[in-house]
Symmetry: C2
Subunit: 194 residues, 2 copies
């Protein structure tokens, strides 16, 4: 998705060897005009596939998931990261190790909002080691729901999350794939379709 790649190149800030900060438009400040273009792109990449629910994880996945859901006409469910007095006791649970935060945490989805009748599109902002997606897939499996696919805004293909998902035959669409970061420069993977 060229529009997205241009934004990453102009506004993305490289930190260290493997962190690209895009918090001016994606995960701290959010450009809803761009998010709408992202939503349309996800719609075109999963066209003619059954999606009854979009599943994401708090916090930065929620914005892109909600805007995208408008193009699929389905509700969003977001997995919660913390114990909350207000969360249902009846939940699907999984564990996630956060690469950027260096901690392990639990994620939970109420059993009320995911079940065997659901066809789930998982949406998230970043895919690196794939821990969050693995946790969400685990929850989809516990719910007995069908996983239609995974839509990612930015994948870092030099980390192995994307490979693991593709190797299992899951339909993964990443709108921008960063192949490497070399001397502070972001290098995208060329895609056949763009």
């Amino acid at each position: 998705m060229e529009l997205l790649k241009r934004r990453i190149l102009t506004e993305g800030r490289v930190e260290g060897k493997d962190v690209v900060k895009v918090d001016s438009f994606l995960n701290h400040q959010m450009d809803v005009v761009l998010l709408n273009e992202i939503g349309k792109e996800f719609q075109s990449r999963f066209v003619n596939q059954t999606v009854t629910k979009i599943l994401t994880i708090e916090a930065s996945g929620i914005g892109v998931a909600c805007i995208t859901a408008q193009y699929f006409n389905v509700p969003v469910v977001f997995a919660k990261k913390m114990e909350s007095r207000n969360l249902d006791k009846e939940v699907f649970e999984s564990k996630v190790t956060s690469y950027t935060k260096g901690i392990e945490y639990g994620i939970k989805v109420s059993k009320r909002y995911l079940g065997p009748e659901d066809h789930v599109l998982i949406i998230d902002d970043f895919l690196a080691n794939g821990q969050a997606i693995a946790g969400l897939r685990n929850i989809v499996k516990q719910a007995g729901a069908h996983l239609t696919g995974v839509g990612i805004v930015i994948e870092k293909s030099f980390q192995n999350g994307g490979k693991v998902i593709r190797d299992e035959g899951i339909h993964l669409e990443s709108l921008a794939i960063i192949k490497e970061i070399e001397n502070n420069k972001i290098i995208f993977k060329e895609e056949g379709r763009e």
Copy 2:
């Protein structure tokens, strides 16, 4: 907002004396069709007022803020709750005591995304004791930005957050105001405009 009140009455679940769970459509599963109606309503309630940025707090405020931002054509900034290796060191900080979670936490907004030129509309899903809104207002003040107003989906007026904000002369719009919960029954405050 009648549509919202009907959803609260049909799907809201009262827990204890003062908790109303609306996680089937607002803050765990999110009905983006309803969120769009909420966004339009906020637009009509803050019509002809300058808004350059919508500010909210993770996690459940993000969905309603992003959908609402489409009607104001402005970006969303969400305050982050946790220390993250990826967050800017240059941040505005405040402290919030969570009523539902029973903990105190810090919230942060990067100085890159809020400044004296901004006219800020704060959006959140719930207003009870007003701790989150107080933290966000504190950040708006630190940024030297102008606070245009506060838009809340559900206010519980038997807790004092709304009163504090109105007493200070701030333009507060709550789309549904729960006056009391009596014998498990939700009673809304009548509004002149509805």
